[in-house]
């Protein structure tokens, strides 16, 4: 095993846990990741840890001349201590900070506040633009161009490009500075939007091409099973609507302009129904009935007038009840059929009746003698 790498596994534990580590805009320190991965803090403990740290920072902030710096340190600590996220908890504490210092006049135009708003937006589960909107409403960073750029980006990422443009308009209305940054960010956003539109159009045209391709393929589709070929090459139709589908599912326009294929065509062997084409021209839904069961055919056609055709259709459709077919095909008349039934039923009744007085052997002997005109007296 000399070729095996000697690298120790724990060095790359971050790689194993990479799916669980939440990437940050600001990046992460590897040492902090390793430390967080090695700690075994339970859910209860981490909440206590955060609470404890928050209270500690609150105490220090109350006495500090510049408390925001302490809170930024708290944010850094939280990010590093909990690489797996804990967004909800983080958001709660960030909200507490904002409630206290968001409207503090010392920090209204302090760009360090942007860090807190950014963190809130990052941890707001897709509601980032609302966070920036709130900040703007309470008067925080009203003249900061970068604040508006980030706000607009939130809208842009949410696909609300019109709203993003409005944010830039608002920034100009509020005389946000530096104006160059604002212009550059707006231009960059418009460029990205143009790119997106071009991509979408390219995708749409690709989709269109694909659709065309499908249609082209369909146009050359070979008629199979019940489909009647159309044209010289006997292709199946592209669109099959009930009023266009004729006998056996074949393409046949009702007015008869397009005639059915000749019986010799090899594409379709189901030519049996084409003998009397005019009989179906009464109904728009003939195709539907063709495709479905023969029961509708029976209703559609007067069974007395087309009795022969109906009977012929039964075995072809393969939907008929086999029990009844066995009797109807081989019996010549209904009377005979009735008679057969009676002769079968009679011996059963007689047998039961005679069984009460004689044995089976005796009854059979008696019937034999009766049939041959032999008297029972002669035998006994």
């Amino acid at each position: 095993m000399g070729d095996e790498p000697t690298t120790t596994q724990p060095d790359y534990e971050w790689e194993i846990c990479r799916e669980n580590i939440r990437p940050l805009r600001s990046g992460r320190r590897m040492a902090a990741i390793k430390e967080a991965l090695s700690s075994t803090t339970s859910a209860k403990n981490y909440q206590d840890r955060v609470k404890e740290k928050f209270e500690e920072v609150s105490g220090s902030a109350a006495e500090s001349a510049d408390p925001i710096e302490l809170w930024l340190e708290f944010i850094r600590w939280f990010d590093e201590s909990f690489p797996f996220g804990r967004q909800k908890l983080f958001y709660e504490y960030l909200w507490k900070i904002v409630l206290q210092y968001g409207t503090d006049e010392r920090y209204l135009n302090d760009e360090r506040m942007l860090r807190i708003w950014d963190k809130m937006a990052e941890n707001s589960l897709g509601n980032g633009w609302k966070v920036y909107q709130h900040a703007n409403t309470i008067g925080s960073l009203k003249t900061s161009a970068i604040f508006y750029a980030k706000w607009a980006k939130c809208f842009e990422y949410a696909g609300l490009i019109t709203e993003a443009r409005k944010v830039f308009q608002r920034a100009r209305a509020n005389c946000a500075t530096p104006i160059n940054l604002l212009n550059d960010e707006e231009n960059a956003m418009e460029m990205r939007e143009i790119r997106r539109v071009i991509e979408e159009r390219a995708n749409d045209s690709w989709q269109q091409d694909t659709d065309d391709m499908v249609i082209d393929e369909d146009d050359k589709r070979i008629a199979l099973t019940r489909l009647q070929g159309f044209g010289e090459e006997r292709h199946a139709p592209i669109v099959r609507q009930p009023h266009l589908v004729g006998e056996g599912g074949s393409l046949r326009i009702r007015d008869g302009q397009l005639k059915k294929a000749s019986c010799s065509a090899p594409a379709n062997g189901f030519q049996i129904f084409t003998e009397k084409e005019n009989e179906y021209e009464q109904s728009f839904l003939q195709g539907v009935y063709e495709m479905n069961t023969h029961i509708e055919h029976i209703h559609l056609i007067n069974p007395e007038e087309h009795k022969e055709d109906v009977l012929r259709r039964v075995p072809i459709k393969k939907n008929s009840a086999p029990q009844s077919a066995g009797f109807t095909i081989y019996d010549e008349s209904a009377d005979e059929n009735t008679r057969t039934t009676k002769t079968v039923a009679k011996p059963k009744l007689m047998l039961i009746k005679s069984m009460r007085e004689h044995s089976i052997e005796e009854v059979r002997c008696q019937k034999y003698f009766e049939a041959n005109g032999i008297s029972d007296e002669k035998i006994y």
Binding site: P23, L24, R28
Partner: protein, 205 residues
């Protein structure tokens, strides 16, 4: 488990080709992962058992192809010491990320005796795949590049190799990052070239 292993001989030239190929995919992966070029300008390619992304930008190909050819030449002459991919902000030219591939070359001859080493090619490619995989995973800890960035490639060679450097190459500074955070990534070895990868960045904490 048996003691029998598939082993293959690798020469200095063959190793140079393998390493050069790795640099090609490695640089392309960095450019894709870090968003230096738009994602739609990359095509997918199967390599090392992974699906990697390779740029289709003709200008980039025009830049990378001769560079990598020269790198292969340096590798085959045991002259390459380090290859560094530097990412800078377009506006300020500030270096914000630095991918370092440090190369150690074994003492082998170009031809004749002592010109080959034994290592299974499959094993080499597996090690390369592990490095590429780590490059991909590095977005876990690297900062998001929110501004437009450019990249450059720095080549560290032995002094005696400078004679045949292309005319359009110029001397450069090391493009270091002050107070940088450094993460050592995996290494791979062809048994002739050992390549150690690291990334330096500045976390914006």
């Amino acid at each position: 488990m048996t003691d029998t292993k598939t082993r293959g001989s690798i020469s200095l030239k063959g190793s140079a080709t393998l390493v050069q190929e790795f640099f090609n995919f490695g640089i392309n992966s960095i450019l894709y992962q870090r968003g230096i070029y738009p994602a739609d300008s990359f095509r997918r390619e199967k390599k090392y058992g992974l699906t990697l992304l390779v740029s289709t930008n003709p200008k980039l190909e025009e830049f990378l192809n001769p560079l990598l050819k020269q790198v292969e030449s340096f590798l085959a002459r045991k002259a390459l010491k380090k290859l560094v991919v530097v990412i800078q902000e377009v506006k300020t030219k500030e270096v914000i990320e630095r991918w370092e591939f440090k190369i150690e070359t074994e003492d082998v001859n170009e031809e004749g005796e002592n010109s080959t080493r034994q290592k299974d090619e499959k094993k080499i490619r597996q090690e390369m795949a592990d490095v590429i995989r780590q490059i991909t995973a590095s977005v876990t800890f690297l900062p998001l590049l929110e501004t437009a960035c450019l990249f450059d490639v720095l080549i560290y060679t032995k002094r005696d190799a400078t004679a045949d450097t292309p005319a359009d190459w110029t001397d450069s500074g090391a493009c270091l990052i002050k107070d940088a955070e450094q993460v050592q990534l995996r290494s791979f070895s062809t048994a002739i070239h050992n390549v150690h990868t690291a990334v330096q960045y500045k976390p914006d904490l």
